[in-house]
Symmetry: C2
Subunit: 335 residues, 2 copies
DNA sequence: GACGTCTCTGTTAACGCTAACAAGAACTGG
DNA sequence: CCAGTTCTTGTTAGCGTTAACAGAGACGTC
């Protein structure tokens, strides 16, 4: 098997030119006679010639591939990010190579990055929402274009991130505006920056309104942990409004509240985060915060391409504001 | 930027050997003196040498990369498949390059495959659950190791697939066993093989029980379409059991039934398909069918590696049986 | 001790492409 | 019509690796 396809020299022979001319046509070099260009194009088509990316990568030192390092691509957020990234990259003519890792610790990340580097990727996007990833990123080779998505805001690395704080603030404010005295929060894991940002935003909004934040309920993104927190919340009569760090936590909370006979939104209002596609069909439809994954993907790729082309690194930073999506899970408190 | 790292010759010089010896150490060639091997290893470590995958791919004709062609990687099924595939591939030392396509039509698929081929991937996995993909696959170059996941069972292409029919049969049977006279079905789009298989399984189970299948309710995988079908089902008093083609459809149905005051499972039982992680926290917890994505990924990769190594193609076929997960959304019919 | 057989290592030649230079053809201006 | 310029094409030399062959020792056998 593996009959190798035609090479550039085959095309050249058929078109009656040198292989270099074929190369020029392929790369859109200006100084090629129109007639020659057409002959070469025809030969390419006739032979079904396909340029060899490996050879090109070898000689230029970069391939048209972008490496993505991500963890847990079954979670909605990362999966959506990855898909958006891939889509955007394809439009720019880049392929995306995924190196997912089990844990976002120093070792795993370095290993994944190494793998990408050995394939001479043009650049790397790290979806590194976790504390332990930060350290790894600083020790990385300096000469590789790299962008972090949802990474550590305090590190001097090019970063594109959803404005977690603003999103959480909006969610909390939305509940306060509805008339609630305070808002409880079911958070994500503390080592995720997303979680921390959402906690901060929640706290800020409460403090700005002169409210002392109630105790935090720590979750782990899963509906299961949302359910556990929900069981506690359901038993506390003073709770009238809950903001959860993602929609799946919200689902678990809704389920627990339902079991305890607390009606949403009549007795308790709930707001989530992520706007998973099915959030509109929760019982009741979930008011939530929608991050713009496409915008994040576009921004990070743009940043990466700039680095690739200009060679300039620098600690760029870009923040994408999420939008509140109001549905049926929020109402004024019962009196 | 882009200071190129050390090459094999640099390692060779430092270790006082020829570059070929370095290559031998790297590829685990047996005939290398232990002492030499250690010296080379030390030199590699000291220089932080990383083999150049492009050069290797150029000379061997294949890279250690597997191309995956998929559509719609935000849907749970495909996303889970992709993640599992990536995980398994990494264990075998392969990177995964994703070429997602907007539509699974002939043109898009061919283009995606072409892109992969120009990078000289070692093999290609096509997650092609759609009718229109089949044609494209047959016209593909014959010399590339290729495996289809959830593709067309009637085409002579190596295929790994979840046993949709068996899963649907089990779901339907489960409802019949609970005492329901018949089972309604909300399906996925007709051009997905997954849908067709699930419809077949549902129909088979009913016919085997001597029941005339009720009209099919066509959906499109989304909770929104499940909701629409649910609104119709809720108004039909004779409906006591519904099997939906995936969990998100089920979510929409649950929501509609809830709105119409039909209790689940007391008035109507519902069974889904996919076992999304949050299915246990629907209201009520959803009884569903769990396909083993990891097993599918392992099987397809195994099949691909066999082709890569032995060069033998052939129309292999493997089917992975899914398992029913019983939760709270099924009960005997009310009388 | 001569000869074949291993084991280990080095040398050379690709792989398919782009970059750098070279050189011929065509055009300009005086 | 000749020198200077521009356009177009070809030639050559790598990029970093593996494959194929060759050669130098070490070892055993008769």
């Amino acid at each position: 098997m593996a009959v190798h396809g035609p090479a550039m020299t085959d095309v050249a022979r058929l078109a009656g030119v040198s292989h270099q001319t074929v190369s020029r046509v392929l790369n859109g070099h200006p100084n090629v006679r129109e007639q020659t260009r057409l002959r070469v194009r025809a030969a390419i088509a006739e032979l079904g010639y396909r340029p060899n990316g490996a050879a090109r990568a070898l000689v230029t030192g970069r391939s048209q591939v972008i490496g993505v390092v991500a963890q847990n691509t079954t979670l909605y957020g990362p999966a959506a990010m990855l898909a958006a990234l891939e889509q955007t990259a394809a439009e720019e003519g880049f392929a995306v190579s995924v190196g997912s890792v089990r844990n976002l610790d120093h070792r795993s990340i370095s290993a994944a990055v190494e793998r990408h580097l050995s394939h001479r990727v043009a650049g790397i996007v790290v979806i590194a929402p976790v504390e332990s990833a930060g350290e790894a990123l600083e020790r990385l080779p300096q000469d590789v274009p790299l962008v972090t998505v949802d990474g550590d805001p305090s590190r001097p690395v090019p970063l594109v991130t959803v404005d977690q704080v603003a999103g959480a603030r909006a969610a909390t404010q939305h509940l306060l505006d509805a008339g609630h005295r305070t808002v409880w929060h079911v958070s994500g894991p503390f080592d995720w920056f997303d979680s921390v940002g959402r906690i901060d935003g929640w706290r800020e909004a409460l403090l700005a309104a002169g409210v002392d934040p109630p105790p935090l309920m720590p979750g782990d993104w899963s509906a299961a942990s949302g359910y556990q927190c929900g069981q506690m919340l359901a038993r506390m009569p003073e709770v009238t409004a809950v903001f959860t760090a993602n929609d799946h936590l919200a689902l678990g909370v809704l389920r627990a509240l339902h079991e305890f006979g607390r009606r949403v939104p009549h007795d308790i209002s709930v707001v989530g985060f992520d706007d998973v596609p099915e959030a509109a069909y929760f019982i009741p439809p979930l008011t939530t915060v929608r991050p713009d994954f496409d915008a994040v993907a576009r921004a990070s790729l743009q940043m990466l391409l700039t680095q690739i082309e200009s060679g300039i690194g620098g600690a760029l930073r870009q923040t994408i504001a999420p939008a509140l999506v109001a549905r049926g899970s929020v109402a004024p408190p019962q009196r």
